[in-house]
């Protein structure tokens, strides 16, 4: 029986065959919110195509472990010793057949995401290294699972390996970024799902593709060499096995060396300023008298955003200290927490975030309302500011939550019942009374010097 035929048989018998549709379905579930946005961007979706590794990696590892222990669990281990194929070749073919099903599903999901992006993208160009490193990482996960399944041949191995891989890739990729237990942040780049920056201001950075590719390639080779060495009995074989282990180990270390040189990016350093140069752009603006300016890639949000901003700024028109301009702030690298980059020091400019993770207009409307009532919109608002903010958000058509519970549900802002009651009282006032109140009280309100008792 030649190797190709054995590969075909193993591919047909593989447990991964039935996991492949699940990978595609889960990738769609994970990506559908991003693909439904009004703004489709190449940098963001290039990384999104890779993010299926999040669950496909553990599945590949679990499938590998299951396939590795299959023969022994079925009591066929000794029988297969009598076949002419040497064990390492059979192991490699089973691993390849298992890994390739998951890889095929991952690539198909990636092609769907990137194809959709090609049709709808408003900015940027495809970046393929994230998809390629995901491809190699899946083969590594399958090999790791296979090695563990071969070593611990039990029915319980597969799920434990899968959960273990999930924990390790999240632990390394996300938790090490914050220098957990004093460990260096660059170690996070060893995870295939490490967050990389993917905004239109800086592109997909840092470029860890070459380092990660070498690391995963070397690690896969090392695992396969260890598998082959498992069955070696004679001294010559051991020498050859040692040689076979050294080469992939060197490749892996070369990858680690490249990753060490990547500029350290740490979530704990929220004021970290990127060393990369910003991709030049000219903002596009719309709206009168308050101009709403965004990056040209986000031009599509203006028709929704401008009327919302106008409905909030209209009662404040002419008041002293009222903001004159609303401007989209550049996203910080690894924008998972914290402050806006490029936050303007001028109090009459409101910086807004337009996140690709939620409905594009929601964050922006929220930021505008906060910026209108406070000179430090990121700090905690007092009751008077919160009440006026609730009133402004209602004017813009944003649904608000008056339960006061400390949780933010999608598409809602949370206020206390007292703040909502004050907002309702303010809403009942005549438009001219509201305007006169803003003319006299807006500077004090924005400085946070106004108590709730001073609200009309």
């Amino acid at each position: 029986m030649n190797g190709l035929r054995l590969f075909r048989i193993e591919a047909r018998r593989s447990v991964a065959l039935w996991l492949a549709p699940l990978v595609i379905g889960a990738a769609w579930l994970l990506a559908r919110n991003d693909l439904a946005l009004g703004v489709i961007l190449w940098p963001h979706n290039s990384v999104l195509a890779r993010d299926s590794v999040f669950f496909a990696g553990p599945l590949a590892a679990g499938a590998g472990a299951w396939m590795a222990g299959r023969d022994r669990r079925h009591g066929m281990g000794e029988l297969l010793f009598t076949t002419p194929h040497v064990r390492p070749v059979r192991d490699a073919l089973i691993w390849l057949a298992t890994g390739l099903w998951i890889v095929a599903a991952y690539l198909l999901a990636g092609v769907i995401i990137l194809g959709f992006t090609a049709l709808r993208a408003s900015w940027g160009e495809p970046v393929l290294w994230p998809l390629a490193t995901g491809f190699l990482a899946l083969l590594t996960c399958a090999a790791l699972g296979y090695l563990l399944g071969r070593t611990f041949s039990s029915r319980f191995t597969a799920p434990l390996v899968a959960v273990g891989v999930f924990l390790v890739q999240i632990g390394v990729g996300h938790i090490l970024l914050s220098n957990w237990l004093g460990m260096p942040g660059w170690l996070a780049a060893l995870s295939p799902i490490v967050p990389v920056h993917s905004s239109v201001w800086y592109g997909v950075r840092p470029n860890i593709g070459p380092g990660q590719s070498l690391f995963f390639l070397g690690l896969t080779g090392l695992i396969l060499a260890l598998l082959a060495a498992h069955d070696v009995r004679d001294a010559r074989g051991r020498v050859a096995g040692a040689g076979a282990i050294l080469l992939p180990a060197a490749v892996m270390l070369a990858g680690v060396g490249l990753l060490r040189d990547v500029p350290a990016v740490s979530l704990s350093e929220t004021s970290w300023s990127p060393r990369w140069s910003m991709i030049p752009y000219e903002p596009v603006c719309d709206g009168e008298p308050v101009a709403v300016c965004v990056h040209p890639a986000y031009r599509a949000v203006l028709p929704d955003l401008v009327p919302a901003v106008e409905s909030m700024t209209e009662p404040l028109a002419g008041a002293s200290g009222a903001p004159r301009r609303v401007e989209q702030a550049p996203e910080m690298p690894l924008n998972l927490t914290g402050p806006l980059a490029g936050e303007s020091s001028a109090p009459q400019v409101i910086p807004i975030r337009i996140s690709t993770y939620t409905w594009a207009g929601f964050n922006a409307t929220y930021d505008v309302a906060a910026g209108l009532v406070s000179e430090q919109p990121d700090s905690r608002l007092n009751d008077a500011q919160a009440a006026i903010k609730a009133w402004l958000l209602r004017r813009a058509g944003v649904e608000i939550d008056c339960s006061g519970r400390a949780q933010v549900l999608v598409g809602r802002s949370v206020f206390t019942a007292e703040q909502c009651a004050a907002a309702a009282r303010f809403a009942e006032l005549d438009g001219e009374v509201q305007r006169r109140w803003f003319e006299t009280q807006l500077p004090a309100l924005r400085k946070g010097q106004l108590g709730p008792e001073l609200l009309p």
Partner: protein, 209 residues
Amino acid sequence: MRPLWLYLRSRSSRQALLRILALAALTWLLLWLGEESVFVPLLQTMMPVAVASVIGLSADSPFAELEETTSRSRVLLRLAHLGGLLLVAAVALRLGDFVVPQPGSWPALVRNTLGYTGLTLVAWRLFGAPYSWVLPLLYASLVFASSGAHLWAWPLYEPGEQEALMAALALLGVGMACALSPVPFAPAQGRMVGARIALNRRSGRQSNR
């Protein structure tokens, strides 16, 4: 007593028990080490999947078809087996509160273990043992990736949230009903095997199974 003992042995219950205790100890250790905001939701979501998968895989037996021919009902045996493992898992995880006091984490871990066990048993009945861990793992991955603001992301809810507890108990109820019912073992798995045989026949080769 002897049928129960034999039943437990045929399900690798001792190995399952050891793994459950080891997983609980690992959870204690990781919660003790990690104070990160990502760490607690990660463990809260994924460690119960591992425990539930062990319980689900322990429900399988190579003699299941043979056992179907016996005249004696095995509902009580199954209940004692699965309920016993669940009880040990719940107690072992809850005891963590005395080792690593983290108000909120441990009740959520127990609740999620109950819910995921139900999901695993449903998957075990529908797809068979080899695939029983896949459904809870994928579900937990999607829950972890979500913002936690949807009802289906109940594993990320605070322990006091009644909706999450009800969802977990409902899943456990459905899963136990699936596991205890006398319906022939994993009909869907049979269909999958049938599809695989048909695939092999179409390609003109003898099935390798």
